[in-house]
């Protein structure tokens, strides 16, 4: 793999980090590089843990510190390459159907502390032990057709399970040697990739840390004036149905779930893998014309699940009772394990948009008429007023939109459908 050098990208993010830090530390004297930090009462942190030399992953720092440099956590054997060779038994993984992020390639790793295991869940993200970190690196390929070819490594996002719950920390590869914490995110102009012969140029947005909750949190369905339950932060990808596929572990091709279990990192996996839910492997080379009706529905539901249902979900299989995604309240709820037939309205069928809407689209989904369907429009526009998902993309996923278009045009006719 070859890296393209990134140059001349301002370090504003890091400076902002510095600024907020000053807010919280007391008595700081800084003269031309002369640094002295005297923590106030109760501060008690050991900044040294970020620079601790550890054989494997720097678990101590992960658990407590927001280190400036990604390399401080010592997650990878080569600290300049977050795409390969994880330390401490980190497992690379892949998803059957992935969230679209401007055609970026993604390198995912799960680091689970030695001797501990994640617990299998039939429908939801696995129950990880404290200290676990999910690492996802985003890289823009020069050609999307050649994802093993040259690429620009952009950002690495960490989801760390600390005592208080999951936290998200974005790191930006401002140079090719290390990535730095970018709490306020980053806009990278003139990002390019060649997709199917077309040169795409766009502004790539690294989400700010506070945005992570927009997709990763579920919020309480408050049950009365005395209900003060808080939002809960959750991973999205590592669910059985997305992991249930083969992966090439450097020559060993094996089902990911079986591999995790074999590595002693997953417990309670059903012995019969056939009984484990799985979503189809939809990607940019999926030939829609080869899908039969059932496969089309299956692909579309998987796509909606990973791209929309982190927000557009409510209750169903969430383990915490009376919680929903932040957009569950819109009435659009498109979890893969939700039955379309039982309530087509949850998938937007004939549902009038609650907030906003658009004059050209009469309902979220108009079966047999994708062109009148607001949901498809929202996937197909970059207008911030209407764009969905609202975060994480600056381009339109043509293949995903084509899938949803075909799905809508093959749904059973409904009351809002055009007359036959």
């Amino acid at each position: 793999m070859k890296y393209i050098k990134i140059k001349n990208i301002a370090l504003k993010g890091s400076m902002m980090v510095l600024a907020i830090t000053l807010l919280s530390a007391c008595k700081i004297v800084f003269k031309d590089g002369d640094v002295a930090v005297k923590p106030g009462n109760g501060s008690g942190t050991s900044p040294a843990s970020c620079s601790a030399q550890t054989d494997g992953v720097n678990w101590g720092a992960l658990l407590t510190e927001n280190c400036t440099n990604l390399s401080d956590y010592n997650l990878f054997a080569d600290s300049t390459d977050p795409t390969d060779n994880p330390n401490s038994g980190g497992i690379p993984y892949d998803l059957t159907t992935a969230l679209f992020t401007d055609y970026a390639s993604k390198y995912r790793f799960a680091f689970i502390p030695e001797g501990q295991k994640a617990v299998y869940n039939e429908h939801e993200a696995f129950d990880f032990p404290i200290g676990s970190v999910l690492v996802k690196t985003f890289a823009m390929p020069e050609y999307t057709s050649d994802r093993d070819g040259s690429e620009l490594v952009i950002e690495t996002r960490l989801l760390i399970l600390r005592e208080g719950g999951w936290v998200a920390r974005p790191y930006y590869w401002e140079t090719s040697t290390d990535a730095t914490l970018a709490i306020t995110g980053k806009s990278i102009e003139n990002m390019t990739t060649n997709h199917k012969g077309e040169e795409l140029t766009f502004t790539y947005g690294i989400p700010k840390a506070t945005s992570c909750t927009s997709c990763h949190a579920v919020v309480p369905l408050l049950q009365g004036p005395d209900d003060t339950r808080e939002a809960i932060f959750k991973p999205i990808g590592p669910k059985a149905r997305f992991l249930n596929k083969d992966y090439d572990y450097g020559g060993l091709v094996m089902n990911q779930l079986s591999y995790w279990a074999l590595q002693g990192k997953l417990e309670s996996l059903p012995a019969d893998l056939e009984s484990v839910s799985h979503t189809p492997e939809f990607n940019d080379s999926t030939d829609l014309s080869q899908l039969n009706g059932e496969e089309l529905n299956d692909n579309a539901k998987a796509y909606l699940d990973i791209n929309c249902a982190h927000c557009h979900r409510s209750e169903l299989t969430l383990p915490e009772p009376l919680y929903a995604g932040p957009a569950g309240g819109s009435g659009l709820q498109v979890e893969y394990n939700r039955s379309y037939d039982e309530n087509p309205g949850k998938f937007g069928t004939c549902k009038v948009p609650v907030a906003g809407g658009h004059s050209d689209y009469s309902a979220d989904v108009v079966p047999l008429n994708a062109d009148d369907s607001y949901l498809l429009f929202r996937m197909s526009t970059n207008d911030e007023r209407h764009r969905m998902p609202e975060l994480g993309r600056s381009t339109v996923h043509g293949e995903g939109a084509a899938l949803i278009r075909k799905w809508i045009n093959n749904l059973p006719s409904a009351s809002c459908s055009p007359a036959p």
């Binding site: 109760g42 942190t45 900044p47 401080d72 936290v167 939002a231 911030e384």
Partner: protein
Amino acid sequence: MKLNKNMSHLSKVLLCSLISSSILLSGCKVTIKGDDDTEELIESTVDSIANGGSSDGSGSNGTSCDEILTTSDYRFPCDAIFVAPDAVDGDDITNELLLALFEIADDSVVVLPEGNFKVSETITIAAASGLTITGYGIHSTKLDFTGSTGDDGIRFEGGNDITARDFGVYETNKNGIKAVGANGVHFTYTATVWEGDLAESQGAYGLYPVQSQNILIEHNYAYGSADAGIYVGQSNNIVVRDNVAKYNVAGIEIENSNMADVYNNTALNNAAGILAFDLPGLEQAYGGNVRIFNNEIYANNTENVGHGAVSIAPPGTGVLIFAVSGVEIYNNNITDNDTSAIELASFFMSDPDVANYPVNYGATIADGWSPMIKNIYMHDNLIARNGDNPAGTLLEEVIAGYTSPYNSTGMPQVFPAIIYDGIGELLSNAGALTDFNYVVGADAAADGVNYNPYAAGDLLCANGNINGNPGPSYDDVNTGLVYGTNPLDAFNWDATGNPAASLLIDKMVNNTFLNCVQNRLPEATVTFKGKEYGCSGDDLSEPACAL
């Protein structure tokens, strides 16, 4: 700009203390001597600490934090966190604001600078507790989201007892200030504004609490939204008072929400002034106990450029009650609205395919949503000079009938000041909807949701309303019924046995129609930071609460 190595080291070291050092200590002494822009940035942030919260940059000597008040007399606490206090008009303060709010300590007060600033992304705040975001005043701190890459301006996700106050949010791509899943929301002295002509492309909701509890919205200004200026959805225990909603599609809208008091507001120049809706298919399937009183609701005659659900609101509407039950509308001044003062519509007006409701809306009907409108009590409203130029697709045929000889009088009429569709009541009274009862879930049925003939407590009643029209047009203030509600009256059915629109009309003061009395509804109470607000809370002595 390049960060030098030492600086990088500093940030690394300091960052490590971020988590546990969230307590802001007063009396910090911070000295920084760096170079270039970095220094400026740090100093601007640090100043606020060194000055004990003062934003004037004059240093700590002789400046007490107690002296800073917003234009609404809110006093910044001494440990307030000042965001970009030295920013000048036009500066983009997005990053400073994000950093200040990042995993912020409970009960923090974050102060936005005084002036006009750009914000280029959605400011998302998750699970904050006791957080106050304040500017220097509704006119003094202005956040301009023009060109933002995000949809909403400020968005609270979860959280308890959160406050936004004393600043304006301008030109967001979608919503102004949103809160979802929060318990305790206080929006006060904020402005949510989209300038220019009202157009579809403008923002959706100005103030937008949804799926939340204990919501206090007061002293705000909402202008130019292509949906609702102030919208409360799927929430409970709500007080909306002393706000101005101007030139939105919907001024103030209460949707699928319970226990809401809307009083002492002004709604003007919207397409529709104040609305209460229950929409199908939502998580909180239905609302009720909404009181709309002592509001000024006038000249809501702006074109309805909205889309989605709000598009049904006829322009020229004072109050629109749509598919919701349990609303009391009283002592409002409802004047100069070109279509009607009060419109009362079942969902059948929007979707007349009655036979297919169990199919098309079965799940939400099971949850308790109902197309019906029941138990509406309108009294002591001053109603004047409405109906001059009725419009709106929801009422298109109704308007055509009243303004031509094709109504019960055989003469063109000024459009009724109070107009009720009556269709749901007629069908219920005829027993035509009793099969819907089998669809209603047990919880909703226990809560009284049914499709039986209207009982006394279900009726829509209007009495004691005051005709404010001057002499010559005094007779133009009327109550209209699109469908008569008596199933035994053959006049209400056509030859094929379908309901026939009679377009009944008579003087409002005659009480020919809707002549009944309903029980008064109980007041809504908001509990925020342990204190009670509303007519049974801080407004015990407020005259409107005695009406």
